[in-house]
């Protein structure tokens, strides 16, 4: 069950969600990373976000 110790034996593959600089730091160290271009759901439009949540 302990996935933490499994992780210690693998290559890190990082999803960077947020600050671009953290992604660039990882890339500069040749670490496998993907930058997720996070945007607030429905571009922060509250009405749309609430409509979407009703469909979930």
């Amino acid at each position: 069950m302990n996935k933490i110790n499994e992780l210690f034996k693998k290559d890190l593959k990082v999803a960077n969600i947020g600050l671009d600089s953290f992604y660039k730091d990882l890339k500069s160290q040749k670490i496998e990373a993907i930058h997720v271009d996070f945007k607030p759901p429905a571009r922060g439009n509250k009405k749309m976000a609430s409509l979407l949540s009703r469909l979930k």
């Binding site: 945007k39 009405k47 749309m48 409509l51 979407l52 009703r54």
Partner: protein, 420 residues
Amino acid sequence: MVTERIDRANKEALDRILKAQPTIVGIGRAIDDIPGMTEKTILHAGPPVKWEDMSGPLKGAIIGGLLYEGIAKSEEEAVEIAESGQITFDSCHHHNAVGPMAGVVTPSMPVWIVKNKAFDNYAYCTLNEGLGKVLRYGAYSKEVIDRLLWMENTLAPILKEAIQLSGEIDLKSILSQILQMGDEGHNRNKAGTSLLIRELAPYIVETDFSTESKRDVLKFMNSNDHFFLNVSMPACKCTMDPLGEIKYSTVVYTMARNGTEFGIRVAGLGNKWFTAEAEVIDGLYFPGFSMDDANRDIGDSCITETTGIGGFAMATSLPIVKFVGGTPKDALNYTLSMYEITEGENDIYKIPALDFRGTPTGIDVRKVVETGIAPIINTGIAHKDPGVGQVGAGLVRPPMKCFEDALEDFVLSLEEEGLL
């Protein structure tokens, strides 16, 4: 519960897109073949629009159409007739038809007849006139009208007979091939045009027309890289039309612009249009022109993107991305970003540069609103004044409002049914 219902409907929508079998079955005439067409009907691209709200190129194309039909003898008279209310203007999409740019269809115009053999429905589109001063960009000078007449009297009859000789032509296999040959099916049609000529040439030669006419027809097709566009469009149109009645589906089955407004229709919401002011395109302009000369986004050609090719398949057509100063990697990224807003992937239309992944297919309104990523469209740019023609090409996205309004309406319709 509601999510499952929607997901099931969207799966059905994707399934219908994938099952479609668009096939050229012949050449017809608008008045004879297009449903609901009358002697006094003129169809145009995009959502419905009144004469007074039409943009320059659409008005120009209608003037040209009236001159071509002989309904008007002069520009002034054409305007008078258009204003008088004696002509019924309607959206191509209401008549199983599509048209590039202004998309004007008048009764006498010859049309491609494309059949979706999986669902037995048809789509219609006029024949492509070539580049430069042409009706679809709102030009209506004598050379434009003369060319239309030649198309009616020489091009169409020869093509019609050639198709009768060759038998129907499967468009699905041609579309899948051209995506591997550098076309994306919307703004680059070199491969498609070439393959179509290959299909037709032996039979054109076999027709009973004069050598001169046959040579003119072949030359005409060969001189126009976009000849295939007017075939890929109805192929996509007849692919999408069977989605129009899928209840609870949030998949977009129409995107179209009339030069004033951009409109979309959603499978679960039937024939209702959701519109917003169309964008002005920031693209690559021909020498002598700039964004100031541009008309707002116009044409039904984004039916290709609706089906998952065109801008969605940009990764197959790397040269296209230069229109916005991008790089081949940008082209790949444009396609990759469309997977974020689509229901699934095409099983036949594949992208070599993405390890033959299927094109992103079936725009989901929910995903567009949630991610804030609007569909990407490759398009030509028309001059805002009638009669001038194309001034550039570029990439454009629909206004987000169309999708937001559609989502709101969709939620409302579920509420009315007591499902929310």
